[in-house]
Amino acid sequence: MFARTATGQYRLLIHTGSSVCFASNSRLVTAVHSRACPTPGRHINLCSLVGSSGLPDNCRRYRNTAQSEQKLVLSDAQRQTIYALSTPPGKAGIAVIRISGPDALRLWRSVVQLKKTKQESLPEPWKFYRCRVVHPESGEVLDEGLAVYFKGPRSFTGEDVLELHVHSGRAVLSSILNALSCLPYCRLAEPGEFTRRAFAAGRMDLTQVEGLKDLINAETESQRKVALQATAGQLRGWLTQLRTDIIKCLGHVEALIDFSEEDIEEGILDDAKQRARDIARHIGEQLSNFRRGEIMRSGLQLAIFGPPNVGKSSLFNFFAQREAAIVTNVPGTTRDVLEISLDIGGLPVVLADTAGLRETEDIVEKTGIERATDRINTADLSLFVLSLPDLVNGGSSQDSISKNIDSILASEITSDNIYVLLNKRDLLPTETYERLESGLQKWNIRGAWAISLATGEGTREFLEKFEQILKERYGLVDEPTASGPRPLVSNARHSVHLETALRFINAFLDTSDADVILAAEELRYAAQAVGKITGHIDVDDVLDVIFRDFCIGK
């Protein structure tokens, strides 16, 4: 809902903005002021993937509710409905996400959207439905595909099973898996868990027929190890440290329970809580890197947007270095979202051209604009293209032009995900452009460039700068950033387990000091979640800490 509000707000803003560009300067300034929300909608929307604490916004409701009504953070065992990608990722056009468990139908209702007429009734089992897969919270369409419901016990696992047949792109898959992870009653399957359930249901014949190995699905232990080994040394180091930290934290709390008679220094619980807070912070930071890591794998989503006829499609073709998009001087030529994959400075980029944003009565164009705004909202970065002559023509003096451009930059670039291109500089009279040039350097720093796609003026400089910016943002440069080098979480599985761990650590922190044993329970679940990434945390690991850190024994 939050995201939806934000999205709605953003749509409104874009419309205001685009119409303004063709109006007078005074209105433009007013429009800038009318922007009430300091954070652009798209930024909030990104939050729904990765919140500031690292928890997706729509997952945050698990927090802080732990003790109020004795509603505890659900353990994995309580989340009996499991999901997993059951086809090898990236190897085929279609991927199958399999969901099994008592809440499969509930999940269907949350993420499967059929044609409006059919939406209310329950799906007929063993029948394919063409559907949209939507985010359960924001309603955002994640993909279009097929869904089929196998009614238990006549299913692979004997439980209610749901299969989503969707496009196999990494971005699509990760967004769907991410969306499923926000449903409190389901969780990512353990390696081999589907097969395990199939066996429990007496469906072992099926598994034998289909071949055991494939059915352990993509999420196998060996893959965990490979993934762990393949992760950058930095991340591996981070995970090892995380493991050590949480074992130490748990060890100290457990020591308070088992060795309360011993000489255990006072303040151990406070220390453990401080340690837990540090761990939570680190995990939060790590999770906010998740999107960065995702970009490395699935490509950076870069959207071009702006009012009609400012040269968006020319920019698209400039990047594509071919006539991928039809370019005319008729406003509203581009009506659908066009996509192309690029490599900018070693970074995989999915560039999208969108319809010009304006008020229109044309139904096709309107749909195009809706798609454009959706795309802009979900993009990692976007390029806001404006026509320099349009801005100048409306202005009376050099000062006011500069001021207006300043204002636009000030408003648009409040989100550091937006860069501005002032196109068609060749159409300005030379003296007008020269008068503006003094301000250009300032704009460059803020991520705005004046170029001409027709003549190529300024494009080279823009490309170099933009490449540099991407490299810095997405960690391809060797120099550590101001906040220090941070490892990327490149594996969706890591992030799911880190989120779980974080929920339990927060629950631990929320438990009163008087209840050490109950607090320890939360920490044990947190350690379990961490162990799923770093290798099982055994009681011996915990005891090792206890006996190393405390002199136990009379």
Binding site: K71, F199, L256, S260, E261, D515, V539, G553
Partner: protein, 672 residues
């Protein structure tokens, strides 16, 4: 379930009596237990309870029930083990209630899941009551004898791929043979025991008692993998030589909680004695440092317990600490000895005197018996099955041979007693050709311990901690009877007295639960009753059970409102309150337990030829061949098992009965 149990029990009881009367006409025994320590006593009693004709062999009749080290029973985790033994109708809980002279509930402030009942006991009383109990135990004979060897039948069984043997009895040092189809070895530290004091080393099980060397040889010859472990005990100090005046006194609790579920109080509640606290000093540590070269025990790299280290180990591992805590514990009413808990060492006797005298209060201490270290053989417990019988897989496997106690790498009276109970009952059941009693990690600490031992072995002497259990909130010291007594009764190891006592306790708990769940009011209603807590008036009725769970009220606030509670056993009321308090957490743990039991119910044949199982790496095959897990759950807990190997083994798993819904909190299930 209830009715079926009732129907079956008289049947068992009948069989038992019939069998016992037949057995008693024969000169041979069904079960022979070697060793009269804590494991041996419970093993003998356990086997006898099932109806098997049982013989307890011990070197000296007088040392039956000896507390070789500290004069106390119980503790955190350990206390729960005693309760579990008691819930299976074992003897140590009842004996402790008679022999205890100082009772405390450890962790009382931390909540019931951490409670650890502990008692200081009078050594003589403990021995006397234990011996009395066993001498009067039905189906049990006791004899003083030293066992030299096992008598084995090596007849090759053509139906099995590997040669194996079965026990037919034991050979005594006198040369006599005693026939028995099941033998339980509970030799403690006596298996090739060697005592170390300073640089002196000599064979002994306990001070002045001969070790058991022959048996060690037989086990080795049979192919068992033996390891060496170390432990130690402090010197005993003459009570009158200690100046207690400056030391902190620790009193027993005025209302001791008994260990046994069938006792409502303890014998010596009104005449408890105190313990005293003191510490080591920098001088103590200096003396240790200066004399480390004089201890052969500490110089060797064999594994001693990290949680109960000798003073030498403490000083070496924690040089930054300038003092370590010591408890001076009385050895009994008419004993003139004090046990200095925390001063275990293996320094030469002449060093021990100045060492002990560097401790406040002990300036003039007279050492009656020196401290010593002991080193002994233990068997790799991975050679055992969940019944504690040795596996019948390879040549080393011997049918009818059970091992219990320190021989399996554990330490502590309670750990030994718990193993003895399981080995004893199962040896008895084997005689009667009944299905074994197998307890899992979900059933109790006994299950946790045995599972740990048979899957991982003991790298160091194994002691119970609550940390070891995944289900700490569920398996508590207050509810061992609800967890185990019915299981014990179903195999025929619970006496009628115990069973009827248990039934009345359980009914009362069910009844109290009903009361606390049905007594409900809206927030407004509660306020009118004078019960204040932070809750807005939402008109929703909440029961006492819910309020206890939310932590809004305590039992004391409620009791005056429900006069009927006063007529109930306060322990039952308290137990229901504990379940209420943990209710939300127990629900969550229940889901974990359900997954656990599902895996446990998928049984694997330990005789699988792993080389024929596809999809296993050679490393995994090796591990499997060593452990030979008996369930998919055990595979999951084994080290180095991948999900792929688990799935490959699934094909070989047999589904036993679908696990019943988790019976915790048991009273709730029973009530429904």
């Amino acid at each position: 379930m209830f009715t079926s149990a009732r129907r079956r029990i008289p049947h068992f009881a009948r069989t038992t009596r019939t069998y016992a009367s037949i057995a008693s006409t024969s000169t041979a025994y069904d079960v022979c237990v070697i060793g009269g320590g804590h494991a041996g006593c419970e093993a003998a009693a356990g086997a006898a309870r099932t109806g098997a004709r049982t013989l307890l062999l011990t070197q000296k009749l007088d040392t039956i029930g000896e507390l070789s080290c500290n004069p106390s029973i119980g503790g955190i985790g350990k206390g729960t083990l005693v309760r579990e033994v008691d819930a299976l109708d074992g003897v140590c809980g009842r004996v402790t209630d008679k022999a205890g002279i100082h009772f405390v509930m450890l962790n009382r402030s931390r909540g019931a899941a951490g409670w650890g009942p502990r008692a200081q006991v009078d050594r003589k009383l403990y021995k006397r009551h234990m011996q009395e109990t066993l001498h009067n135990y039905p189906n049990l004979d006791i004899r003083a004898a030293s066992v030299h060897d096992l008598v084995l039948d090596h007849t090759v069984d053509d139906t099995r791929p590997h040669p194996w043997a079965s026990v037919t009895g034991v050979r005594l040092e006198t040369g006599d043979t005693i026939r028995a189809s099941q033998v339980i070895i509970c030799t403690g530290t006596f298996l090739s025991g060697e005592i170390h004091i300073g640089m002196k080393r000599f064979p002994a099980g306990r001070m002045n008692e001969a070790p058991s060397v022959g048996l060690s040889g037989s086990l080795r010859a049979a192919g068992f993998k033996l390891g060496r472990l170390q432990t130690g005990t402090p010197a005993r100090i003459l009570k009158d030589s200690i100046d207690f005046s400056r030391l902190e006194e620790q009193l027993g609790e005025t209302e001791p909680v008994p260990f046994s579920y069938i006792n409502s109080g303890v014998d010596n509640a009104r005449k408890q004695v105190s313990c005293y606290k003191t510490t080591t000093t920098p001088l103590t540590h200096q003396i240790i440092q200066d004399n480390l070269h004089l201890s052969c025990h500490i110089q060797e790299t064999k594994k001693g317990p990290r949680y109960c280290p000798s003073l030498e180990a403490k000083v070496m591992r924690f040089p930054q600490k300038d003092h370590h805590r010591i408890w001076l514990e009385p050895e009994g009413y008419d004993s003139d000895l004090i046990y200095p808990n925390g001063l275990s060492c293996s320094m030469p006797e002449e060093v021990q005197i100045p060492l002990y005298r560097s401790v406040p209060g002990l300036e003039n201490a007279v050492l009656v018996k020196p401290a010593y270290g002991v080193e002994y053989d233990h068997v790799d417990a991975r050679e055992l099955r969940p019944t504690l019988e040795t596996k019948r897989i390879k040549a080393i496997s011997i049918k009818g041979l059970f091992l219990a106690g320190q021989i399996n790498g554990t330490t502590g009276y309670e750990e030994a007693a718990a193993q003895g109970t399981i080995a004893g009952i199962n040896a008895g059941l084997a005689v009667l050709h009944r299905p074994p009693l197998i307890l899992t990690r979900a059933d109790g600490y006994v299950g946790v311990m045995i599972d740990d031992l048979i899957l991982k072995g003991a790298e160091e002497p194994y002691r119970m901690f609550t940390t070891r259990s995944e289900y700490r909130l569920t398996i508590r010291s207050d509810n061992a009877d609800l967890r185990l007594t019915e299981k014990g009764r179903l195999v025929g190891a619970i006496s009628d007295t115990r069973w009827s006592h248990f039934l009345s306790t359980r009914n009362e708990i069910i009844y109290v639960t009903e009361i606390l769940k049905s007594f409900s009011h809206s927030p407004h209603g509660w306020r009118k009753l004078g019960v204040q807590f932070d809750m807005r008036s939402d008109g929703i009725r909440r029961s006492v059970f819910e309020l206890l769970n939310r932590g809004d009220v305590t039992l004391d606030v409620i009791k005056p409102l429900i006069p009927e509670l006063a007529t109930m056993d306060p322990r039952s009321v308290e137990r229901v309150a504990i379940d209420a308090q943990y209710n939300a957490h127990l629900r969550r743990q229940e889901a974990d337990l359900r997954l656990f039991s599902e895996d446990e119910s998928l049984v694997l044949d330990p005789n699988i030829d792993y080389s024929n199982v596809e999809g296993l790496s050679s490393e995994v095959r090796e591990r499997l061949a060593l452990i030979r897990p008996t369930s998919i759950g055990a595979v999951r807990r084994m080290e180095g098992m991948t999900p792929t190997s688990m799935v490959s083994l699934l094909r070989f798993a047999k589904r036993t009965h679908r696990p019943e819904p988790v019976d915790i909190p048991a009273q709730e299930m029973l009530a429904s």
